[in-house]
């Protein structure tokens, strides 16, 4: 096989490598959320317990970043196939990448700064202190 170094070669490789990682990451995520935990048990405490282990936060952040870039690449290659849309390439590339960037930043912010007891008004995880008797 020989590939010329043309624009898009990086995207070509990135789609295949990120895609392979995403298969594994999303497989684990889907089975964990839907079949092991179950969507009926996804309450705040379950997230706190899960994100107590850094490995889950790393996996979720990796899934978010790879997924968004993989999706952005994919959407761009779809739009590129439409001649009429291609005229405005600069604008839609800017728009899609902005949406992706905002999603990555917001998602990473949630994953990395989540703290079950710090800022939130969470009663269930903070030690229960008996305040007063009636």
């Amino acid at each position: 096989m020989s590939y010329k170094k043309v624009p898009g070669t990086f995207a070509w490789w990135f789609q295949r490598i990120s895609g392979s990682f995403l298969i594994i990451l999303i497989f684990i995520h889907f089975i964990d959320v839907h079949f092991i935990l179950g969507v009926e048990n996804l309450d705040f405490d379950s997230v706190a317990e899960k994100w107590n282990k850094p490995i889950w936060r790393i996996m979720d952040a990796l899934m978010l970043i790879l997924g968004m870039i993989h999706g952005t690449n994919g959407i761009e290659s779809i739009l590129y196939d439409f001649k009429k849309i291609r005229k405005y390439e600069k604008y839609w590339i800017f728009s899609i990448r902005s949406i992706a960037l905002v999603t990555i930043v917001l998602g990473s912010w949630v994953i990395l700064t989540f703290s079950p007891s710090a800022s939130q008004t969470n009663e269930s995880l903070t030690p229960v202190v008996e305040v007063e008797n009636e």
């Binding site: 998602g107 949630v110 800022s119």
Partner: protein, 121 residues
């Protein structure tokens, strides 16, 4: 030959449609996760939505889209890196992933929808 063109087009079209769907879902999914920063009650209220009949059924669609996109992506990788460029091989792999998608989606759909019939959701 006629068939291999049809299958190639179908897998190509499905790959794009499922890709767009998963991408849109991912953005909404991440936006929903912001409820984790707002507060426990808000988050619990948000995830209660997923335990409704509509979302249970939608999750089967999501699982199908993910299975198809992932397996077809693997098929593309195999075709690219195996160096086998015959229609026969591409078609053979196409039917393998159709089979795998169905075989994996049946128990998946069963597990996802089971609570509906048990009256839990």
């Amino acid at each position: 030959m006629k068939y291999s063109i049809k299958e190639g087009m179908l897998s190509w079209l499905l790959h794009r449609l499922t890709g767009i769907g998963i991408f849109v879902f991912l953005i909404i999914h991440v936006m929903g996760a912001i409820y984790l920063k707002i507060g426990p009650e808000e988050w619990n209220h948000h995830v209660a939505l997923f335990n409704t009949p509509f979302f249970r059924v939608a999750e089967v669609g999501l699982m199908g889209a993910l299975l198809w996109h992932g397996l077809n992506g693997l098929r593309i990788i195999i075709i690219d890196f195996s160096g086998i460029r015959t229609n026969h091989f591409a078609k053979f792999l196409f039917w393998i992933i159709v089979f795998l998608t169905i075989i994996l989606l049946i128990p998946g759909a069963y597990l996802l929808l089971k609570p509906l019939f048990e009256g839990v959701a």
